[in-house]
Amino acid sequence: MLSEHLPILPIILPLIAAPVCLLIPGRNGGWLFATLVSAISLVVSFVLLNRVLAEGTLSYAMGGWPPPWGIEMRLDVANAFVLLAVTLISTAVLVYAQKSAGHEIDRDKQGLFYTAHLLCLTGLSGILITGDAFNLFVFLEISSLATYTLVSLGSDRRCLTAAFRYLVMGTIGATFILIGVGMLYMKTGTLNMLDLAEQIARYDSSRTINTGLAFIMVGVSIKLALFPLHLWLPPAYTFAPSAVSAFLAGTATKVAVYVMMRFIFTIFGADHVFHEMGMDLILMVLAIVAIFKCSFMAALQHNAKTLLAYSSVAQIGYIVLGISLVSMSGLMAGILHIFNHALMKGALFMAVGAVFYRVGSVEIKAFSGLGRQMPWTMAAFTVAGLSIIGVPLTVGFVSKWYLVSGALEQGNWIIAALVLLGSLLAIVYVGRILEAAYFRRPDDTQSGTAAVKEVPIGMLIPMWVLVLANVYFGIDTSLTVEAAQQAALSFAQDSNWQEATR
């Protein structure tokens, strides 16, 4: 009986748990409850992924109303895979948050923090699971509103202006998506994604649908921080509490990338978007500019969190580049990188948060000598940093390998070379922090540095779980590559790609 309702659980569980979390007295009660709920969601999404891999797409009619009239929850390999990444990061971050958020967020606001986190998780799971275009907008706003609140909990007052800027840009983005969905509804009279796809395929080149496509693409691009629309991201990630940065960097923008894939491949059809509308060229140029401009910006920063934030925008560039290759292997590399990037950025932001916990600053110069004083944290940072660069035996290598081979498959040497050049820039920005940590003496002029020691085990464990996942999935790629391949295949089948049937 329960297994029949499994697809809805990742949404319902955190949604019901969120207000309950607020009522639980004491700081650790709320934490324990939220962590438990997130862990159950993780288990559920793991079961769901395995079931989807074995049995194919799951469809769940919300409230018993059959699609296309009712709201359909639809799980295929693509969203089950991203859901696993989201719940994994959420659980790891919540375990980490007991010490980190306990340190950075006021005692009386901690219940609110866990509530907002669970609401954000609800929204993200909802975006992933739903099969209804309007429902997607609603969940997008649930997660976004929770995100603005989370960002504004930071300890620096600049988090407020960062959150406000995020709110303005995020709302414009979501409203653009709403306009686009409205135009699709106007032409087709349906909101169910599969039904939309069928109806849209009937209209060859309708101006209404194409305008809708344009609105949706711009809206989603704001949400996923594609290059020229990324300006909200660096301040938001810099001034948010460390646990929030770790959570958002791994999940929020990645889910938005999934939304972009869903709209392109399932709803509009890849042929229409890429061949008739020429979106592939636009996306490819923006992705490459994102990789170089933002890696370069990252290399110039003096704040480690801003550095990682710019690096996130650059990494989103790699994912979008994968989409823009318009091939199975490119798409697969993009999906794989969604998962892999969540693992590495989560670990990196956690390590920087650990430094903030002990040193009280995330300026790069504050990292001086930390290689000795906080060996486990900096070792975690080093491994995750190598993963960002794309060194073999880490997940970063796996996704770049598939991305480069996807480019070479089309004989596109320039793209392949640019991806490798981008990795060189990653060496620069990761290297700057490592250089400070391992090759510089501790800054004696700073007060209290002598007392710097390793962070509590409660922060190290989730950090190292992600780091070990970075290495594990870098060596044993069977689960991730299989899931990403299946996911790409299901997207390709949705848009009747010839290549998929070949």
């Binding site: 309007f134 907008f137 609603v138 706003e141 509103l145 603005y148 609140t149 504004s152 007052r157 600049r158 407020l160 202006t161 960062a162 959150a163 406000f164 709110l167 303005v168 709302t171 414009i172 979501a174 409203t175 709403l178 306009i179 409205g182 509804y185 106007m186 660096p234 301040p235 810099t238 704040n303 801003t306």
Partner: protein, 119 residues
């Protein structure tokens, strides 16, 4: 020419409101005005949805004798949800402004940006 304006007057209202709201969001220096602009921007979309549900000669979608044509209720229901989302966004935005006012003593963008170097 005139008929294009008159036949599609609802869309002209939508476009006018949308651009007004968008312009206010971008140009306003005062954060409260930005939120007002955001609201106007969202309202234009509400009108867009509501007017698209209108069926010529149709009445309110309530079953009644002697009525054949009904307006489409679905966009109206959708927009109820979107209004709730808009209200929630406004609430979060305004509460952020309250905290910004407490932290910086001003809600004018240029004034508090001078106090800190933003990224």
């Amino acid at each position: 020419m005139m008929s294009v304006v008159l036949d599609y007057y609802n869309y002209w209202i939508v476009v006018f409101l949308m651009m007004t709201g968008f312009y206010v969001v971008i140009s306003a220096n005062n954060l409260v005005k930005k939120v007002v602009g955001l609201n106007i921007f969202q309202t234009s979309v509400f009108i867009f949805y509501i007017s698209m549900g209108k069926v010529a000669e149709g009445t309110a979608p309530i079953l009644a004798e002697g009525v054949e044509a009904y307006s489409n209720p679905l966009p109206h229901v959708l927009i109820l949800t979107a209004i709730v989302v808009g209200v929630a966004t406004t609430a979060v935005g305004l509460s952020l402004i309250v905290r910004i006012k407490r932290a910086y003593g001003s809600v004018e963008e240029d004034e508090f940006q001078d106090q800190d170097d933003l990224i």
